[in-house]
Subunit: 444 residues, 2 copies
């Protein structure tokens, strides 16, 4: 299921088989026990997972070679083969990643609220695991290790579905992860691997058994999943990011930021797709930028004004809404900051947008008015990333408006619960006025 | 749209008309300006709304009388008429509620995270309004004033759709609210009233223009909306709450809590539907409880063991999953705490569940293992309420697993945004190792 089906017919999503329901229920049961484990027990489980991955290293690499051979026999695209490939350094980096997740602060059991509602009636709000997450991957087998580590660290069970091309790799990794858990106090049943395409589709109908779906794939896949499930989905459907170069600006700095935002990893969702140039700065900026982007292999597509200043390809209306994920950049000359804001409002995807300016008023206006998960001043949009934000690990990036929004770390895998402890308190006493709430905040 | 259509055919939800799209876009535009207003400006807008409601009091009450006459001519059910009725005291209470919301602490602009990623590269996470909320009400016209106040206080625009029976009341209230906003610095276009059933259905398809839908109605309505929109929905589809009376317990206290949890307001989602009794305490508890519930007008429906102890009506399997919203309570005798937990896991709706016990180990086990938004010890489930929790106002109660969960105050109407300020920082310098992140926490 690395490619989304082209139909939106609800009938494409089959009902879960009794066998899948039973397996999902087993994951849920194991997850409930896992949720009762201590911080130390969950950390030890991750260390055991890392050790088992090390012990099974040869088998995992061999399985990956078999996947690669099958892929080459099928004539898989080179980019897909590159993502599929798991060599010794990549495996070692993934195992180090599991240990890094083990070392992250415990996201569970944090008290977010603590209030004495009345004498002897005390309310707490505590973070708890979500329950079970369903994860649908594209070909990359290293992602399986990362997401499994994040799930167990945060006390969640996981139903994992890798791409068909990576089936042997995923199975070998899953075997090792379960062997690791078997040597810990966490039930190995907390990590289940789905293998068929039908199962990954039926996963979308496991409401009540799965609390969150995390698609790690194309925009089309994310949109397909959002349209076919009642389970919440953490993912971003689009990343059309902008850089606006204001009138008052350090031209060389702005160019450096523009080049980095486009080229540092053009396939990433946080790379820019459109450059907006204040009309007063456009001639000088493009005089520098056109050769610089050409040298970086970037094709520019301009509006009429940008073309008049030397951009050779004209942009069509469709360009402004396109996530190229490639070395292509559309360029528009705007009258002023307000027109840039209007352009972003109209064509942006509320992911990450940046301004380069030395004018503090323009900076404040941009930072306040752009309604995106990330709004940046004088720096590259490529910083929109959980690791770079200091979260230690990234569950995904979300372009939905509601929290969690933007790069999401472990907090995306936890929710909270209210605990209220009383001594026989009843609501009727407050309704009648016999007692009144005091709502006294207590230390967290 | 106070009753959910009986079909789940996607064709029942029409596409928005160009006119509705235009009106929704106007709300969004006004909401973006509103989001830039200061705390004081938003507070002043609420005071102006309250003053305008006072000034228009007679017109609002007259419109409500016309609605009531029409309802009585149509033979509307008495319960619905009671909810529809807006008299002087109810109107005054609603106006006081608007002023209370004005006085709540500003939910916007709170810094939740503040990190120096590197020298001169500073990340902040700040709360911001969601944008536009769509609210679908049942008959109660007073709810329109409350939700409008919450929306404006938190910097959001709102598309409001009241029940057909309350159409004159809602129109009069909406006129007053807009008149109030016109006397403030907030654009009256931020509050729009939808009037036709087709509009309230098409609202479900306004993704990109509406960020959250809040249904204030029946379970069937909430479920229908969840099935027919890609927009996030804040609401609870079910409230099947339990009270478990453990072996070691103060019988009289437990009975008081049980009576309150069932009868203090039986139509509420946080009223209990099922009483679970430890077998060792069931005989003594039921000897007290059967006459007490009978005196309170509550019909008990028991399993075989409860019936053997004097409960006269037998419960069917369907009873354990039913939200009666009425003076009916199912009663089951369980072997022990674990069987009670298993019952709640199987039949509960993860809303609010309580234990009465004097055994600290049983209390800890219950509070840790029950996976509901609220888990209570020795107090009534009726405390699951935003006002009682001290939130000052309630947007709704959510039974979804992801936050916001449980009773939701103003924080349910805000999200956050990351702001990153740099001095020309680019990602390539960190990828190459020329620079490294320091991730130094700064004061909030």
């Amino acid at each position: 299921m690395t490619t989304a089906p082209q139909t939106s017919d609800p009938a494409v999503v089959p009902d879960p088989t009794p066998e899948l329901l039973q397996r999902a229920a087993a994951v849920r049961q194991a997850a409930m026990a896992l949720a009762q484990c201590s911080d130390g027990q969950r950390q030890a489980a991750l260390q055991a997972m890392a050790a088992a991955l090390e012990a099974d290293g040869e088998a995992i690499l061999a399985a990956n070679r078999a996947d690669l051979e099958a892929a080459s026999a099928e004539g898989l695209a080179a980019a897909l083969v590159a993502r599929l490939k798991l060599d010794r350094p990549k495996l070692e980096a993934a195992i180090a990643g599991v240990r890094q997740v083990a070392a992250l602060p415990d996201p569970i059991g944090r008290r977010q609220l603590h209030t004495e509602l009345d004498q002897g009636l005390v309310l707490e709000r505590l973070t708890v695991p979500l329950g079970v997450v369903g994860v649908i991957f594209e070909a990359r087998p290293d992602a399986v290790m990362q997401i499994a580590a994040l799930a167990i660290r945060s006390g969640n069970g996981a139903l994992l579905k890798g791409g068909r091309e990576a089936s042997r790799s995923c199975a070998a990794i899953h075997r090792a992860l379960q062997a690791g858990l078997a040597a810990s106090e966490v039930d190995p049943a907390a990590l289940e691997l789905l293998t068929s395409r039908g199962e990954s589709l039926a996963l979308l109908k496991l409401d009540g058994l799965v609390d969150l779906i995390i698609p790690r794939g194309s925009n089309a896949l994310v949109r397909f999943i959002q349209d076919h499930t009642r389970i919440p989905v953490l993912g971003h459907a689009d990343g059309v990011c902008h850089l606006y170069v204001d009138a008052a600006v350090d031209l060389e700095q702005a160019l450096r930021v523009a080049i980095d935002s486009k080229t540092q990893y053009p396939a990433a969702c946080n790379a820019i797709e459109t450059l907006l140039l204040h009309q007063s700065v456009a001639p000088a900026f493009l005089a520098l930028a056109i050769p610089a982007f050409a040298a970086a292999g970037v094709e520019l597509r301009g509006d009429a004004a940008a073309c008049a200043l030397g951009v050779s390809q004209p942009a069509s209306e469709a360009d402004w809404g396109t996530e190229y994920s490639d070395l292509i950049l559309s360029v528009r000359v705007v009258d002023d900051l307000e027109q840039a804001l209007e352009h972003i409002r109209r064509h942006g995807s509320r992911h990450t947008d940046a301004i380069c300016t030395s004018d503090p008023l323009a900076a404040d206006r941009f930072l306040a008015a752009v309604d995106s998960a990330g709004v940046y001043l004088n720096c590259s949009t490529r910083f929109a990333d959980g690791f770079r934000y200091g979260f230690g690990a990234e569950v995904g990036i979300s372009t939905q408006t509601l929290p969690p929004r933007g790069p999401v770390g472990l907090e995306g895998l936890v929710t909270y619960r209210y605990r209220l402890r009383g001594e026989g308190h009843i609501a009727a006493d407050y309704a009648s006025g016999a007692r009144t709430f005091r709502h006294h905040p207590l230390p967290l």
